[in-house]
Structure formats: structure tokens, C-alpha cells
Amino acid sequence: MTDLRETSATSLAEQKERALIAWLRDRGSVLLGFSGGVDSAYLACLATEALGPDRVLAVIGRSASYPEEQWRTARDVAARFGLTVAEIDTDEMTDPRYVANPSNRCYFCKTELWSKLAPLARDRGLETIIDGTNADDIGGHRPGMQAAREQGVRSPLVEVGMTKRDVRERSRARGLPTWSQPSAPCLSSRLQYGLSVTAERLREVERAERALRDLGIGGDLRVRHHGDLARVELSPEMLSLWLSPIPLRMITAAIRAAGFARVAIDLRGFRSGSLNLLTEVTAA
């Protein structure tokens, strides 16, 4: 029974992938915002296969909020799958509206990114700008998507109904190393709203999360920055392993070494959009 269900799900994902290939071919050429995450890596590889490397440009927007490890993954995927890649620096850290870290912070970041990619697409003669938003991303508090729509960015994974599960399934089938990679939104998403975004705070988060990975903690993991306090979210199955006294001390020591004065472990564990709940942000 389980096998039948899995076969059926795989078949559905394959159908959606065929629709996605047709969608891409209809566009002719695309410029993709490429982070090296699960969704954009899959989309970059599929677009390159469907259209050829001369008709696809995968652009990495680099700033202090973009994790170094993510950049390495993006470059690795690009090298292994023959993607055409460009890198640009984005300047959201000089925008006081972004630095103030309001609940619609992502709107200012994405506006900066897409406003730089639109002229690049025109210069290169690429017809459509796309991103890796998937069908699961619709709904919730997503001000970054509003910025994308305002700049005419299309989301083909959404348009053909591909969910995160579909993307992981097809990525695995295609041998992409990103298929099992945890979701990795930008580092600014770890800062409590209202706490200003600084390069030092972003580095503290990055160091802390890397230190926890180095301890051997797998699965979804976030270090939420609450000023002097780091609140660690682990996947529920990791909580029972790491809340024993000795592992707990190891976590505390690792986070303090990364620059935080205080460390607390969230007892419910990882929740996507956890900081939205904390400040009672509702869908716009």
C-alpha cells in the first residue's frame, strides 16, 4: 500500500515537472534569482536542461544576510550541472527601512534584488524573470512575494502546482545534492522584528548555527536572535536528544562562543515563521 502511494506521488510530481518544462519552453529564456536552496537549485537545473545554458542565467544576489555556506552550495550546484551564473551585490543593508527590521522587511530586500535583476535581464535579452517560490509558500506572511509581483517576477513552481515535496522528489531523481537540504532562508529572518539588522548580528547567527551543525545536530535548525538572548529551535525529534544535561551544556557553550550572552532552547522546537507568531503578525 505504501509503495503504491509513493508511486502515485512520484508520478504526479513527474507530471508537474513535464508541465514545468513546457512552461519554461514557452518563455524561451529566463533569468532566475538563484540562492542555491532546494527550490531555486532544482529550477535552475531544469531550466538549463529545457532551454540550454545560453538561455538561462542564474543570478546570485550577495549581501551580509546571505549565508556563506549557501553560496558554496550554489556554486557547487552550478559547477556540477553546467549552469550559467552571475553574481551581484545587493545593498539592502544601506536601506534604513530594511535595517529597522519591520515585519515587512523582506519587501525592501526583494525590491532591491529584483530592481537590480530587471535591467540585467533586459541587457541580456532574457524574456522572463523567475524565482523559486513553490506552491507551499503561498499564503502566510510573505511581503517578499509582493515585491516580486510588483517587479513582474513569475513563479513557475507555483504556476504548475509543485510543492516542496514534489521539488525534493524530482531533485532526488535527478541527482541534485540539494534534495534533502533543510530550508535555509536568509539570516535576517532569524532576528526578532524591531531588532535592527546589523552585519555583526547576522554573523552571530551564522556562527551559532554552524557551531550547532558541527556538534552533529541535523534537520531543521534556527538560532533566533533576541538581542542578548539566542533562542534555539531544533526539529522535534532532536529535542529529546539534546535536552539532556550534557548535550544542553554543549549547545549553551557553542552558542555563547558565537557571541550570545544567554541561550534558551525553544521547547516546542522548530516552527517556520516562528517570529511571525511571536509578534502576532497576520497574513496581509
Binding site: R231, S240, R262, V263, A264, I265, L267, T279
Partner: protein
Amino acid sequence: MNVENLERALAEIGLHGIVEVRGSLAVLRMDVDAGLADDELRFLAVDAAERNGFTHLALEVVDDAGRAALHRD
């Protein structure tokens, strides 16, 4: 949100500590092994926090340096 009720509810399940309120985040500060590796106890603690209006409950184990600050008059 009611911090006194939360502290009382947590004490009833064996979690004796001080709760620090940061918006709807409750930080439970304890100076002993809380036993929260146990799934059932953790569920009860989170449930107590939510019943008292908090969206998040986090455990901070306080070491020697922070221990003095734990004891309220």
C-alpha cells in the same frame, strides 16, 4: 498573558524556576536539570504556556554566574 499562573502551572509539573516575559515569549530560567528531554513533560510545559497566553516557551539553564538572580524575594 499571566506569568504568575504559568510559573504555578510549571511548578505543579515539577518545573521550579523563574519565568521571564519577552512579549509572548516565556523564558523559563532554571538552575537544575529540568528533565525536559522527556517528551511528555515538554508537552505539558508547552501546553501550560499556551493556556496562559504565550506563543513560545524556552528553557534557559542558568549556570553559577546567573544563579543568584533566580531567587526572588
